[in-house]
Subunit: 252 residues, 3 copies
């Protein structure tokens, strides 16, 4: 009897491709990162993708997605856009922690809270595993339509420092990073400009194990996902925890 | 006993990748769409892909694949090419129904009838599902060699009207389509020029759920699959039924 | 009892994706092909990928990967580079057999022997099957990090003769090949310059069924994998056996 039940469960798992169910859930937690300026048309200028973590009011994205400065005189603000299709909602956001070295930023949005994704262990990811990522590869011209892609882990390789980060780092830090670069995932997948900040997750559990941040282009790698190619990179999700710790250490 | 049989069946399904068997069957129904001109060299000018449905003498392809006009004075004709390798057969074809809005055309070929594909429900397709498509991505330079690709469904997005269709539509119709565009499948797959009109089908049953018609290129989408990229689009197969109904309503 | 055991085995196979385990093993047998020149900086000039077969001292790669000539006066040599990351080893290598027609070369390296891959039957490969390949798509700028990609078999198509090979063949041989070209695998995968010579293998057993050698580029195919695209080609592994036979026939 117990064996029978186990087998039926096992078969269910084996036969069903779990990605459609997982993608449906994950989509609820994927947001657009944009700047909002009341005097501009269109008012929202889309920068990349992000995803909700923790208490539902924290959003992870890439450091290079965040604009260097805002036109505060004309009330330009950093915003997070949630929702689907033409039914979207705009949330004011502020950067509460960041890691220039690992191209990550943690934002806090105004209430209400959104459904959060769970962080998995990026250490446990193996070469050849098939993962998935969800984001806004080609912006939001006709509305917010998240796209879900499969991505096989091709390799663990040393990270190349994004240009946007280089300008924030002093000579010594750059040298240190070049001598001992953080390792990133090389993905067998085509990512597009808007995919920067997309969560890379397990197809069965939806646990986040990485954050899409770069794409390979002939002659080098690009910080932003500026030119599509068959090779993309992702920051391991274990690099997100220090940002959450920093945020909580600040009495939040 | 019954349980044992069920389990063995289940295991068979789970272990075997069903695409090789399905692709072998589907290939028999995939054809090339071309114009044929006795005075030209080569005489066949290849326009895209199509697939056989219904009674075996009906072929579905994209509206934009069909040439706007034929050089009838020099006996240029629309043809469908079936077969494999260098062993091919040419069938005269005529357009019997079309939908400019949904970039679809239904052709009728002269006898004999070819093996037909079954139309599935495109409504039941889920984001993240892995499908397949078969067609002639890079033409038929060395013979007719259909290529089968896997394609994960990345999103359902609003369709952009192909240029070829725009010229056929009046202002009011274009405005209506812009305000309420038909939804199409965004596929995580690289399609090439010749793939326009390729059937997108389920890996297990071979039931057709879409028709490849567009590819994303930087700066916009192109009606023809003119430049390869990692993002392709497909018309949901439910849009084919009205064309079949129209054809049958005409006393066929 | 026996039935229970069978079912549990079956379930294990079905649930687990075998590629991570297989890729870990295969990586040990994948090497870089380079020329080494003591007076040059960097001293190693990377040409492509290769893989170890037979007694552990034989390496298969593409014919077009091997340089036409070496600057022997300045002690330039053909080498094979094994290892991982910055922990690599250089082995002197010499060509012991080659097939210009099939774009294959067999090298022999100096001791010690490396772990060898098993050759599978390329005849048994089916259209639509998902295979994998491992190599060095974008060279070794930051060290030797093999990348593993999934590749679905899209088609069997006639091979186009690489330019490098054309220059080695006389008119009659080229005509013969054009009339009866060898069949190759068309893969649904993005390969990069460094992938030439990468082993294409089964995800479960790691048995080699092909060797990546070409990529499709708009307007033709290129011998070297010079521009990435979504279509790559591989030589069936059955073409490797004649080279091994030739080597052994020479008293080795």
């Amino acid at each position: 009897m117990a064996l029978g039940a186990l087998l039926v469960m096992g078969l269910g798992t084996a036969q069903a491709d779990t990605l459609p169910d997982t993608a449906e859930r994950v989509q609820q937690s994927v947001v657009g990162i944009a700047t909002f300026k009341p005097t501009r048309s269109p008012r929202a200028d889309y920068m990349g993708t992000g995803f909700v973590v923790g208490d539902g009011r924290l959003v992870v994205t890439n450091f290079h997605v965040i604009p260097e400065s805002l036109d505060t005189e004309r009330r330009e603000r950093l915003v997070v856009i949630s929702g689907h299709g033409r039914d979207t909602e705009i949330h004011h956001a502020e950067v509460v922690a960041q890691s220039v070295d690992h191209d990550l930023a943690l934002l806090r949005i105004s209430a209400p809270s959104l459904p959060a994704l769970r962080l998995g262990s990026s250490d446990a990811v193996r070469i050849g595993e098939e993962l998935a990522f969800t984001g806004y590869p080609i912006g939001m011209i006709l509305g917010l339509y998240p796209a879900t892609h499969r991505a096989s882990v091709a390799a663990r390789t040393p990270m190349v420092i994004p240009a946007r980060s280089s300008s924030e780092l002093d000579e010594r830090r750059i040298r240190a990073l070049r001598n001992n670069p953080p390792m990133v995932f090389q993905l067998d997948a085509t990512a597009y400009p808007g995919n920067s900040g997309s969560p890379v997750y397990r197809k069965d559990s939806g646990a986040v194990v990485g954050v899409v941040n770069q794409v390979f282009v002939q002659g080098g790698r690009e910080a932003a996902v500026s030119q599509p190619s068959g090779i993309s990179y992702a920051i391991p999700s274990d690099r997100i925890r220090p940002l959450l710790d920093e945020y909580h250490a600040n009495g939040n």
